[in-house]
């Protein structure tokens, strides 16, 4: 039995509001990726450092980030830290949760990329007189980032989709939050959610195509 009459106009009238929300979504995703990449590089270096403590720390981060639901990570950032008197705004909680998740996945990405680079590359650099760190920075890192670039765009798309979990911590300015707000007022659920889904789809698609374009320009031989 399906007797719902679609009223697309109501949803379309709210499109400008939803697009504003989409900008916030994109902003959070980009920020969380930028910070996530920096943390992931640090975690990767920790693992290579040879120090047991640092390596264990990096490994724990990766394990927790990859093996617990993103929803919990965001919820913990808000209500978990809240229990200890640390109060983050919904925006900050969402950003923290997603960044934590991103850093874990990206660190694994980078580790895989590193493994694909032959050790002889470092040796070649060393034989040219470069110190270890310089050889890593100038020879290994660029290759690593290159190999990890396309897998990282997957993570970017995942980050965009993860922002929708912010509604659980009171986020009401991103696309999911705005959509939920509109839905609560009129309950034109199917229309609003369908429209939001289309916007998410378009953003993800554009990001993917842009990443391919960048990869093509930057990494061709």
């Amino acid at each position: 039995m399906f007797n719902y009459s679609f009223r697309w106009n109501q949803a379309l009238q709210a499109l400008p509001q939803m697009l504003e929300g989409a900008l916030v979504t994109l902003q959070i995703a980009i920020l969380s990726m930028a910070i996530g990449i920096v943390i992931a590089i640090v975690l990767t270096l920790f693992r290579l450092s040879g120090s047991k403590a640092l390596s264990a720390l990096a490994q724990t981060w990766v394990e927790v980030a990859r093996n617990t639901p993103a929803l919990f990570q965001i919820y913990m950032a808000h209500f978990g830290l809240g229990a200890f008197g640390i109060h983050l705004s919904p925006y900050a909680s969402l950003l923290l949760g997603i960044t934590f998740n991103n850093a874990g996945y990206l660190a694994e990405n980078f580790r895989g990329a590193l493994k694909a680079i032959p050790e002889t590359q470092i040796r070649a650099g060393r034989s040219l007189g470069m110190p270890q760190l310089q050889a890593f920075r100038l020879i290994v890192m660029p290759q690593m980032l290159r190999i990890a670039f396309l897998p990282a765009t997957n993570q970017m798309i995942w980050a965009i989709l993860m922002t929708s979990l912010g509604v659980t911590v009171g986020m009401n300015t991103d696309l999911a939050g705005v959509t939920q707000d509109l839905n609560a007022r009129s309950f034109r659920t199917f229309e609003f959610f369908a429209l939001a889904a289309v916007i998410y789809y378009v953003i993800a698609k554009v990001v993917m195509l842009a990443a391919r374009g960048i990869a093509w320009r930057m990494f061709r031989y």
Binding site: F79, H87, G170, Q180, A184, S186
Partner: protein, 268 residues
């Protein structure tokens, strides 16, 4: 007989043989089951007892309705934002979920006459400086996403032009955020506010006054085009009041003076 006459006779006969399409009311009676959407984190209207069984005013109300229809009641736990989607997707027959009868919602679903009325109270965290509704200005406040008071409060925060509003998914999250200090105050129905403050689950919060929002009348709801069912619901609500069952349930779950379900000088 000509072929065309034969065909016509056949068509006419088959048309007559088709049963009239059953409506939702018939469907419920013949299925022997009434599925009600009830919110179960909204005491005293809906919650769970220590054995995890659904209890509360709305639960009893659904049971009464099922008894009137002569069918079994099934309580379908439904969070606030999912009440109307649950109806639309056919998971429930009726919403007995303290649903405010806003005109905006009535564009989507069919609302019965009011079956309960809420007044709105302000609950604040001790030390937040909120001592009344007006002192909420400029503070961080929150409420359960999609509720009548959330919509009214958000509009008020916009009108004040300072402070911020956060919608949470459940009433429990709102009070958790309040007790943790994530928000300074909330507006909820006075029944919920009292129940949460008394529960002892949340420390350092108290009811500091009433919010000047209109009385929140709540309705049962069904599919917009199911006039038969909506008609039945209206009469059922009328009978609940007439027979004293409404007052009885009110005394059992809330206590105090029974709110009036009518507005003066106007029908419905």
């Amino acid at each position: 007989m000509k072929t065309s006459t034969l065909a016509f006779t056949f068509l006419a006969a088959s048309g007559l043989a088709l049963p009239a399409a059953a409506d939702a009311l018939d469907d419920i009676i013949s299925s022997g089951e009434l599925r009600c959407a009830v919110v179960l984190d909204f005491p005293p209207m809906g919650s769970r007892d220590e054995n995890n069984n659904p209890i509360g005013f709305d639960v009893d109300y659904c049971n009464d309705l099922a008894a009137a229809l002569g069918v079994e009641a099934e309580i379908v736990e439904t969070p606030f934002p999912e009440r109307i989607p649950a109806l639309m997707s056919g998971r429930v027959d009726v919403g007995v979920a303290s649903t405010s009868d806003t005109l905006e919602r009535a564009k989507t679903v069919g609302m019965s006459i009011p079956y309960f009325a809420f007044e709105m109270a302000v609950t604040a965290r001790d030390g937040s400086g909120v001592t009344s509704f007006d002192t909420m200005k400029g503070k961080t406040v929150g409420a359960t996403a999609g509720t009548y008071e959330a919509i009214a409060l958000q509009e008020q925060v916009d009108a004040w032009g300072e402070g911020s509003f956060r919608p949470y998914q459940t009433q429990a999250d709102v009070f958790l955020a309040l007790a943790q200090g994530q928000i300074d105050a909330t507006v909820s129905t006075s029944t919920v506010a009292q129940a949460n403050v008394k529960s002892g689950n949340f420390e350092g919060i108290s009811v500091v006054g009433m919010a000047p929002f209109d009385t929140d009348y709540v309705s049962l709801f069904a599919m917009r085009e199911e006039y038969g069912l909506i008609n039945y619901l209206n009469l059922f609500i009328n009978q609940q009041v007439r027979t004293g069952r409404y007052a009885e349930l009110y005394e059992k779950w809330v206590g105090g003076e029974v709110p009036d379900l009518t507005v003066g000088s106007v029908y419905r």
